[in-house]
Point group: C2
Chain length 170, copies 2
């Protein structure tokens, strides 16, 4: 049934296009701050979670990023547990890359751009590798069309790491 | 006395130069894993501390970096408390910037390069703005000459932020 819901949501999103899609409720959540399709919200307290790794995204985004994760995720990373267990939550923070005004060789975080969430629930999100996705700008989820791209990209690109790009930085 | 010790250590370091300086003991610590001049060690459990901000350091270092901090520091950051209170500890992790093999626009952490520590003790380190410094490669402190450069650079460059470059990323 979940798989069917996801498939229907995807089809509807394709038909509706990107303008004001509000089909997230079809995935079981009516919360206005929940992502379309998946019903994922920004987890409380994530800014205090442990660091998995920083990253740099080149132009045109030109962003500094950092993935933080809850304790379930960190334990799995440290133990090398794959797939990640249910309850894993990963949050990627992103900021515009800015020139440090005090040290020329350094780039530092500028304005916050997006917060992106991956939440593992192997039953609820069975159709997408066990992962629910949420992409947020200013605390609000982006549209359904953008959320259609999440799993397709992770599935196509990540090699042997349970659809998770980010590895634990030593 | 501490100020005198620091001054003497600095003078001695200048005379000795960079080769195999082991004058750290003169600053009051004989621990082999403690930094010269300051006697600062890598704090236990720092890898699990909260993120302050990521950064990118351009060539020739070409490194991704992330500053994490203990709870004293995080509270000060969030409250905007300056100067940072005694007991503040900041740790900067650094890795070679590597190309993501799975997503072309992304750079990710490669090999770990340095771990750098700032520890606030306004009495012990009164001669250096209240900060003790430690720079470590493979868990071992680098030489005295390198440690001579820490405060001079922070003092000359940081503007109105208690000698701390890194701001809290929103």
């Amino acid at each position: 049934m979940r798989r069917l819901n996801l498939a229907l949501a995807g089809l509807a999103a394709t038909l509706v296009g990107t303008a004001g899609a509000t089909l997230g409720a079809g995935a079981g959540s009516g919360a206005t701050n929940a992502s379309p399709i998946y019903g994922v919200t920004i987890p409380d307290g994530y800014r205090g979670w442990e660091l998995v790794a920083p990253a740099l995204e080149a132009d045109p985004l030109n962003e500094l990023r950092a993935v933080v994760a809850n304790s379930v995720a960190i334990e799995a990373y440290r133990a090398g547990t794959l797939p990640f267990p249910d309850g894993t939550v990963l949050v990627k923070l992103a900021w515009k890359r800015a020139q440090s005004p005090e040290f020329e060789p350094a780039s530092v975080p500028g304005a916050s751009t997006t917060v992106q969430v991956m939440l593992k629930d192997s039953k609820k999100y069975a159709a997408t590798g066990g992962w629910g996705f949420g992409r947020f700008v200013d605390g609000k989820p982006v549209d359904e069309a953008q959320h259609q791209t999440c799993f397709a990209c992770h599935e196509a690109r990540v090699q042997g790491h349970d659809y998770v790009f980010t590895r634990f930085a030593p």
